[in-house]
């Protein structure tokens, strides 16, 4: 039992170790939130690889970046930046929105 949990722990560490350097090499894309809108509203990213999204919330208020298509949800406090990793994505369109201001904060990611 103990040996198994130790080997599971080692396995988890290995998985983390393997994941980290791969992320560092990927390109980053920035989405700005300003006036409760995303800029750009449509962002094109490469399909088939992990993509780093930097979400720069320039509003004073917090926003929750949410996407059912991308299966991501992250709260971004006012005047801060947050990183969200997505993919590798099959080519296609992925809608995202700001849950706290869903009437204006809408956009989509296009993976090509």
């Amino acid at each position: 039992m103990k040996a198994r949990s130790i080997s599971l722990g080692l396995l988890a560490l290995l998985a983390v170790g393997a994941a980290l350097p791969a992320q560092a090499a990927d390109a980053a894309y920035t989405l700005v939130i300003s006036g409760h809108r995303f800029e750009p509203r449509e962002l094109t990213v490469p399909a088939g690889q992990r993509v780093k999204l930097i979400i720069d919330n320039r509003d004073a208020s917090a926003e929750e970046f949410e996407s059912h298509d991308l299966r991501r949800e992250k709260i971004i406090p006012g005047n801060t930046k947050a990183t969200v990793w997505v993919g590798p994505l099959p080519a296609g369109e992925y809608r995202f929105f700001g849950e706290f201001h869903g009437d204006t904060a809408q956009g989509k990611l296009i993976a090509k």
């Binding site: 917090a62 949800e73 992250k74 709260i75």
Partner: protein, 273 residues
């Protein structure tokens, strides 16, 4: 106003349904009201603290702090629910028999109340911190105070009403089957929370997705609809799950059920669920 009511409703709903299940599962325990109320109060306090420190939490652990906090809270809740069910598989039948005999609730002594109070606290903490941030965000961007407060209260009342509705429904179950039913409910709730945790761990880059989308049943039952949301909270329904989420769900079911079975058998009778 309606917009803010709807968002507060969605956030409150999950916590309210979990509190209802906890109230059901602790039926017959003296002093449970105090424990559950304490859990709710602790959760509200924690929610405000988490909301205030949202910025530093988000920046922690190379920007993965928020995901890791969410996953940890969810997995801690899973552990507490598992502990409760395993305890009940040893003592639940005797409890139900006793309650049937005396015809009313009985003080059953050492039930794992602290575990379920923590489950309540975690649920209120997680959903509450988002609610606090949302309301603060609206207030900061110049929404009108009275309309905002009305909306928030409407959402809170509607969410709480559904929780009460679920609890009343649970009480309608005959006492002989009651703990079997709540046992299954707790088991499925735990599996669903584990699947949610898997989503956060994947977002933090700590576990692979295994498959980005196993299936898409959003046409059949959209997870954003009210029935879809209720099923998502109660049994972990997901209209477009990742592979890792199904794996966490199934492993949690098997592990908890297996332990319940073993503990129930060692007490000389089959497991209660």
């Amino acid at each position: 106003m309606l917009g803010s009511a709807l968002i507060v409703f969605r956030e409150v709903l999950e916590a309210a349904l979990i509190v209802a299940i906890v109230m059901g599962a602790t039926r017959g325990v003296a002093g449970r009201g105090r424990w559950v109320a304490g859990g709710i109060a602790g959760g509200v306090l924690g929610a405000v603290i988490v909301a205030v420190f949202a910025g530093s939490i988000s920046d922690a652990v190379e920007g993965r702090g928020q995901e890791l906090l969410n996953a940890s809270i969810l997995l801690a809740a899973v552990a507490m629910l598992a502990w409760h069910n395993i305890w009940m598989s040893a003592h639940g039948r005797a409890l139900a028999t006793q309650m049937k005999k005396v015809g009313h609730d009985v003080s059953a002594g050492a039930r794992p109340l602290s575990a379920l109070a923590l489950v309540t606290l975690f649920a209120v903490l997680r959903e509450g911190s988002e609610t606090v941030l949302f309301l603060y965000s609206l207030a900061a961007s110049g929404s009108q105070g009275p309309a905002l407060a009305t909306g928030a209260l409407l959402g809170l009342a509607a969410g709480a009403a559904l929780g009460v509705f679920l609890y009343r429904g649970l009480l309608a179950i005959p006492i002989g089957h009651f703990f079997t039913f709540t046992g299954w409910l707790v088991l499925l709730l735990a599996a669903g929370l584990a699947a949610n945790a898997a989503g956060y761990l994947n977002q933090a880059g700590l576990v692979p997705a295994l498959s980005q989308q196993l299936w898409d049943s959003s046409g059949l039952l959209n997870q954003q609809s009210l029935p879809g949301t209720l099923l998502h909270i109660l049994v972990g329904y997901n209209d477009r799950p990742m592979g890792i989420q199904l794996l966490f769900y199934v492993i949690t079911l098997i592990v908890i059920w297996g332990l319940m079975y073993l503990v129930g058998r060692s007490h000389g009778r089959p497991a209660t669920a």
